[in-house]
């Protein structure tokens, strides 16, 4: 099992690039295929962009994990931003409040195997996603 957790502070659009590069490198290190590493990197890019667009700053944490019968990777995107008032709406395709293509959360859910979101208005949002290695 490769070295522990990597945390990337997200403060600007440059950090989005950094986070997805680190995510891809970790996915490769964990033995994910190039295709799956791309899915993970794309999900990280969307999650980091949500942080920049909605909360301005936050963090992406990346970690290798062990499931019951296979290894995987955990990505946690957290911020102390305004939070999402209506999560079920945010998980519907096409939903957007910032003039972008949307929060991208339904897309992120499709890119990864497991998806979990907690958000408190005024307190922030945490999205935890996992991808398992084939």
């Amino acid at each position: 099992m490769p070295a522990g957790e990597i945390r990337v502070a997200i403060n600007s659009d440059q950090d989005i690039v950094l986070a997805r590069q680190k995510g891809r490198a970790m996915a490769a290190e964990l033995g994910f295929s190039a295709g799956d590493a791309t899915l993970i990197a794309t999900a990280i890019s969307e999650l980091a962009r949500n942080i920049v667009s909605y909360a301005r700053k936050g963090e992406i944490a990346l970690k290798g994990i062990q499931g019951s019968n296979r290894p995987g990777m955990l990505v946690v995107a957290s911020d102390n931003g305004p939070g999402i008032p209506d999560i079920s709406q945010a998980l519907r395709d096409g939903f957007s409040t910032s003039g972008s293509l949307g929060l991208g959360l339904p897309g992120v859910r499709r890119l990864m195997d497991e998806f979990e979101i907690t958000s408190l208005p005024g307190r922030g949002t945490t999205v935890r996603v996992k991808k398992w290695r084939l």
Binding site: D13, Q14, I16, V17, R20, Q21, R24, A34, G35, T38, L39, A41, T42, S45, E46, R49, D93, S100, L101, G102, G104, P106, G107, V108, R110, L111
Partner: protein, 120 residues
């Protein structure tokens, strides 16, 4: 990060690098449109072979570039979307459906030459 834009006759060729930030993409969008005006280009090829991720922002920027350039009366072709990048884009619901795409630079030029029989 600067994106090299090559002028080849009436075609502009922009080659994207792997690590383009949102600001770089915005910069490129305005840069390309200005160059199309300046050189009276009839077509633009955007080569994204090196891009390892095309997320919602990059995808939206590509569409905007194509639409702006179309309003100028020129044509845009996106070339070199990698197979795994295409898969991730479809999962995200990004299909670039009204933008011309081609396998690589060579195929992009073939497409444009067919479209404009008189391309120089």
């Amino acid at each position: 990060m600067e994106v090299p834009i090559l002028k080849q006759g009436e075609v502009l060729i922009a080659t994207f690098q792997a690590a383009l930030s949102d600001a770089d993409l915005n910069h490129l969008r305005s840069g390309l449109v200005h160059q199309v005006v300046k050189f009276r280009s009839r077509a633009v090829i955007v080569d994204v072979t090196a891009m390892d991720v095309l997320d919602s922002f990059a995808s939206r920027t590509l569409r905007e570039i194509a639409h702006m350039i179309r309003l100028r009366g020129a044509e845009t072709v996106i070339v070199g979307i990698q197979p795994e990048v295409a898969f991730a884009m479809v999962q995200l619901g990004l299909t670039l459906e009204d933008v011309a795409t081609a396998l690589d630079l060579e195929e992009g030029l073939v497409y444009l030459n067919k479209k404009f029989k008189t391309l120089k």
